[in-house]
Symmetry: C2
Subunit: 422 residues, 2 copies
């Protein structure tokens, strides 16, 4: 008998009928011989309602540097209640079906976290209590998203944290796998809303999934993939509308690269419209200028993605170009303008009509010509590449936002992604 962790998101917990459906899926895995723990989100919409109440009660939104206020510990008390409700309801539903089940709150297991309220990170989950209950034949229902700090106060992990809770519980339970039931039936070669030839992948490596998640594919929360990768915990993404008992071979398994026999050079095409390009024109080409620019952005907790220095004229001045998240663009612009005297740039331009399109694949490590195929495909469609950045298993380009869909489809075809997968 192996231990299995299952996770259901907010749409799978949206009402009593959906909760009963989830319970049948849990029961089927239990009947198949697994020891099961289930991690649940709050009912869809409930967390937003609770957050709105905390806003109305005067929750401080933090200062410009993103520092938290002490009030966030009470924010956590309020919003953690949503998962408490669904955990109790699912446990009751399972009992009503004749199964032994019980909920365990974050403070009961405990799920120990840091004390950064509102965006805590899981520090440790002692396995004893959890595993003892599972091994005794109880189905343990765990509210996602929540934990407890060393001082005994309730914490939450930040939005979307339930995926991370599920992976962490799976690691603590030494589970054979963590199954994430959601409203899509797996990980696709690209967004099917843009390219209807997109194919579901049977398997994808942790590294690829991590890049896909960071690049805007919203199937799994980035932090949950990082955690799964660190502990080599296989994660399966599948639809909560699968029939009970028929979950085997459904969805996409995120796993170690070595377990993937048929490797693709490129596994997926991702895109993000959450980009803004800032160009500093005529920056003096002297020591310490880059530090002055990016030090200021880092201090304000603004994440800088792509950086290019270009157009060095006679070695004296250059243009500095970088991208930030669109929601940070205004603040980044103000920070730069405030430091114009010190940095010494001549002019600043900001462009929010850009998007980032990326190809991801572990096969890049061992194949040449991958980048060339990308540039060729975009060039053939007349798409101008503004910035390029690469990692070992990914190539990203910044383009005019209007060409996003065209670029995604061109790249999907260029790498033959419509011919692979499930």
């Amino acid at each position: 008998m192996t231990r299995l962790v299952m996770k259901f998101g907010g749409t799978s917990m949206a009402d009593l009928e959906r909760i009963r459906r989830a319970a049948r899926l849990v029961a089927a895995e239990y009947d198949a011989g697994h020891k099961v723990a289930v991690v649940v989100s709050a009912m869809a919409g409930k967390t937003n309602e609770l957050v709105a109440w905390t806003d109305g009660a005067g929750r401080p939104t933090g200062d410009a540097a993103g520092n938290d206020d002490a009030s966030d510990d009470e924010y956590d008390v309020v919003v953690a209640s949503g998962e408490q409700v669904t955990a109790g309801l699912l446990a009751m539903t399972l009992r009503n079906m004749g199964y032994r089940a019980r909920s365990m709150q974050g403070w009961q297991i405990p799920i120990k976290t840091t004390d950064v309220h509102g965006k805590a990170r899981i520090a440790d989950i002692p396995p004893e209590k959890l595993c003892a209950a599972m091994d005794s034949g109880e189905i343990v229902v765990v509210p996602g998203f929540q934990g407890v700090a060393d001082d005994g106060r309730i914490t939450t992990l930040g939005r979307g944290g339930s995926d991370t809770s599920a992976v962490a519980v799976a690691i603590a339970a030494s589970a054979v796998r963590c199954d994430i039931y959601t409203d899509v039936d797996g990980v696709y070669t690209t967004d099917p809303r843009i390219e209807n030839k997109a194919k579901r992948l049977d398997k994808i490596s942790f590294e690829e999934m991590l890049e896909m998640a960071s690049l805007g594919a919203k199937v799994l929360q980035t932090r949950s993939v990082e955690l799964a990768m660190a502990y080599r915990m296989p994660v399966r993404v599948l639809s909560s509308f699968v029939e009970p008992g028929e979950a085997t071979d459904q969805g996409t398994i995120v796993c170690d690269e070595e377990e993937i026999v048929e490797k693709h050079i490129v596994s997926g095409v991702a895109y993000s419209r959450d980009e803004a390009k800032i160009t500093l024109l005529g920056v003096p080409n002297k020591v310490g200028v880059s530090a002055a620019i990016f030090g200021r952005l880092a201090q304000a907790n603004i994440n800088v993605d792509m950086i290019v220095q270009s157009d060095a004229r006679s070695g004296e001045v250059a243009n500095q170009l970088f991208t930030v998240g669109r929601r940070d663009a205004k603040q980044a612009k103000e920070l730069m303008e405030a430091a114009q005297g010190e940095i010494g740039f001549e002019d600043l331009r900001i462009d929010e009509n850009v998007s980032k399109v990326s190809i991801v694949g572990v096969g890049m490590r061992s194949h040449t010509g991958v980048a060339q195929t990308m540039f060729q495909a975009l060039s053939e469609k007349g798409i101008n590449i503004q910035v390029i950045s690469t990692s070992e298993i990914k190539i990203s380009v910044l383009i005019d936002e209007a060409y996003t869909e065209l670029a995604v489809r061109a790249l999907h075809a260029a790498y033959g992604l419509d011919k692979i997968g499930a």
Copy 2:
């Protein structure tokens, strides 16, 4: 600096505006020099919503003998979340007003209870953590209605339990008083909806309040009065619409009899329509018959109130008459009919068109003629008394339900209650 416990019910927590109003009342007491703990109910209607969800999830309703099912521990997990939310929101609101405040859940203080889920009783509240926070200048916000069992599971006290939570927290904190803010402005000589000459009492003794609560006056939960009486904790009932800073001398103080200088012979007239009268006709007058009747009702957890044995004919047969709560009437009738052979009665009659009207007053102990005044007043209005029962400080009569208001007004006048009070 004395410690003070304040309690706000569901209507006082119904939305963010009401929560802000409660926060201003709390702040005024803090500014006046009190160390304050606040006990809160869930938002009005929220507990009903949560209970409905648990019903939908298949909460067992228990068997006929009132035994609880294990599922009730998950019921508690779900419904306790309502008070968790309001506790967090009130703490945030107070912080936003510049006060130091924090919530403490039942398991954090802890509020230790028995493990009878859904209707647990408070066993102990260790004062250390609560008092340390209060003494450090923090306003401590405690969710009412909930606690934690020895096994670390969440419990709830049953509906209306927040009054009891408040009194228990006041006792643990050695508070000078427990102020219950509610939607009425005190305890009245009778229900003002029936008698508009009803007067608010400045003070009422624990014993009187306990009788009033048991007899149907819904101002305070019976269990909370029992607890306050046992520990001689003064409780003040006042309106949550009092202006901040003007709470002094408002409402009604429930206190020790010795602290009431001006004692009334009768302090109030209470009534209850939740009555049903069952008459067993022609019961053999032999040993063990009463035990057979009332033993059966006790086994089924049916509370019997008034009992009269009458009409003994030549010492051989008698009529047995008793009253039960109206919701138990059907079950009581079925239990009697099932045992007709053993008990040996000839016929059974059930009458739900009855009500119980009572006068309550510690002055009865030292004054004669109190009952005679009651019977005379009812007789003058032509109201027939079906059953009489008395305790040291109360006289109750069972009458035709149609005469309830008439009887209440007649008794209110007969004891001069329109001339006393605040």
